[in-house]
């Protein structure tokens, strides 16, 4: 992959932010952190207004028709941008891997879906693998453990990139948990359709986090983070939960996931 941004690029790369429905509704700071990171790396970021969701809830429930309709909307909204970047491995994976297969019977749409797929990325892997970012100007005093969200890891190869950037954050110590690659039990609608199984899985994850000795949990997907934060807080754990983009963008002063805003 490229080792540094192209010096000859005279205008900033035109990048569209795919906000994701969870970030929009539950934690907008993740979107702002993503924009800051992209701008610091030399991109001009726009936020297409007609975006809502990547369509996973419908897709994973077997409702192909609704998924196609939403995908068509996304394809339209993100036409013309050099890159489409999401602070989420699962949404990034949906666009990059699953959209083309939705249009096997429609060659024109399939071609557009494939074009979008080629331009779609998860945030941290975009920064490191495409833009060649090696370090960030951020400070975070504390011990952090990182959970590898499943789609990002297995569909998009997001593993080393967040760790690389976190290692450049001043004051931050990374303490790996024993099984960072095991699913946290969120799985979209799974966590409410099979709550007991989901609870067993997030309980294991919570124990693993506790054993790591870290005081902060990071990951790249807000669904996973809300699931794990909710469990940790129900258990009375002192571990605080943030999106990795917020720490990398030096925005860790905000209230953590599930904390009241007055707490610092």
């Amino acid at each position: 992959m490229s080792s540094s941004p192209s010096v000859s690029q005279t205008r900033p790369r035109r990048v569209a932010l795919f906000v994701t429905c969870l970030v929009d509704l539950f934690r907008p700071s993740v979107g702002f952190a993503a924009i800051k990171l992209l701008e610091d790396a030399g991109c001009a970021v726009e936020v297409p207004p007609l975006q809502v969701c990547c369509g996973q809830p419908a897709y994973n429930s077997g409702d192909r028709a609704t998924t196609r309709a939403i995908a068509a909307q996304v394809i339209d909204a993100f036409e013309g941008f050099e890159a489409v970047v999401a602070p989420s491995g699962s949404c990034g994976g949906m666009l990059a891997h699953h959209y083309p297969g939705l249009f096997d019977d429609d060659p024109a749409m399939k071609a557009r879906a494939e074009d979008l797929a080629r331009r779609s990325h998860e945030l941290v892997s975009f920064l490191v693998d495409v833009l060649g970012v090696n370090s960030v100007a951020a400070r975070f005093d504390g011990a952090v453990t990182y959970h590898d969200s499943c789609s990002g890891l297995r569909e998009l190869g997001v593993k080393q990139q967040p760790r690389r950037l976190l290692s450049s954050v001043k004051g931050l110590e990374l303490k790996e948990m024993a099984t960072p690659e095991v699913c946290c039990g969120f799985g979209g609608t799974f966590c409410v359709k099979y709550p007991e199984i989901s609870n067993a899985m997030v309980g294991e994850k919570s124990a693993d986090i506790a054993r790591s000795g870290a005081d902060t949990l990071l990951a790249g997907d807000l669904g996973c983070l809300m699931n794990m934060a909710g469990k940790l807080q129900r258990q009375g754990s002192p571990v605080r939960v943030r999106h990795v983009a917020e720490v990398l963008a030096d925005m860790a002063g905000l209230a953590a996931v599930g904390e009241p805003e007055t707490k610092r």
Partner: protein, 477 residues
Amino acid sequence: MQSTAHDFKHNVGEALADANLQDSLAKLKVGFSERRRQAAERLPEFEALRDAARDIKNHALANLDFYLEEFERKVVALGGHVHWAPTAADARRIIADLCRSVGAKTVAKSKSMVSEEIALNEHLEALGIAPIETDLGEYIIQLRHEPPSHIIAPAVHLTKDQVADTFLEHHKALGFSKRLTERNDLVAEARHVLREKFLKADVGLTGANFLVAETGSSMLVTNEGNADLSNTMPRMHIVLASIEKVIPTLEDAAVLLRVLARSATGQESSSYTTLNTGPKRRDDLDGPSQYHVVILDNGRSSVLGTKMQDMLRCIRCGACMNHCPVYGAIGGHAYGWVYPGPIGAVLTPQLIGVEEAGNLPNASTFCGRCESVCPVRIPLPGLMRHWREREFEHHLTPRTVRQGLAIWGYAARRPRLYRRLTGFANRLLALFGRATGRYRALPLAGAWTRFRDFPAPPSGGTFHAQWARHGGARTRP
């Protein structure tokens, strides 16, 4: 085997409350996956072999009729017999007739998931023929009247103490009255008890990992040697195998064997990998005088040529369930039928119907770990999604889910409406959650808040509202 898959949620509750099971699963989760990882690391060619294994199975499936006919030709030429069983009932009938033809009183059985699928044991017992499971794990669960909970380690759900109790209860009549505490003593006692039965059995019935068309051989992979004793001592050897087990050549078998044991248990090779070709030859000093292969379809041929065909590549290694966090939480019995774990979630609806088994492909987060370790690269999450699509098309998805999806889908296709609705929800959730930052209880979200708090959004509005307020300029909240 009678299915309880429709009762999945009830099964899950029981499994999560079963302390012995949870202890056993804790060991399984760490053991198998670590050993597989090490075995894969030791072999530089492992990934290339996985690709080759997938390609061999795909080729075999595309030419399945041809290779089945070739296999049959070779078996018959060497004095064996091939029987074709379109349904489970056909297979049961054929096997029962074969046993009766030699006046069999006992059948020594060696690991066959297909025999569970067709509920063979009950059928034979009803006819006064005693099936004896010889695989140690199968033997243990046969004593306990339980089904297997894993496709290669059928008693993996049990602790050593549970096994000791079972042996004490059932071996007392045979003169073993001491409750054992050591594993090797338990194994030794089982060996002693089963040895007698091997020597006396009239018929040996085994499954097959592969049927090799080139030579007309059945191939079976075990660690105990029970399959080999089962097919050498008795007068008749019956092989029960499903159609997709057939592969073209011995070279193909070598590729598949290289990925099978490593994926299953992390061994370079199982202790016994055996090729059986026909009955004993004239000059042989031992071996069965009759060799019969029963080839079962039972709903598999209709999967060929469809998007679901990939499930027929399965070589029954068990890696998927060893790595599945859902299996690791609930164990194999919760799946309610013969095949558990990710492959069970995909195969069971095909064999017994999606109305009965619909829960199985739904109880997955699509984490993808199964697919990442499958030696023949079956796209398991994708296949589970296909079942969900099938259910949705046939209106088998619960009504509340369909309705919720319909409402959400309606809004999601209308961004401006969606913004208004989410803006409202966001303000409400932010307002009432401001004090603590989270909800211990939330209307409509009971399934979530039963076990977890629900994080409240911070004040300030949705991302899109904030972005619009700042006119799209670069900003920090």
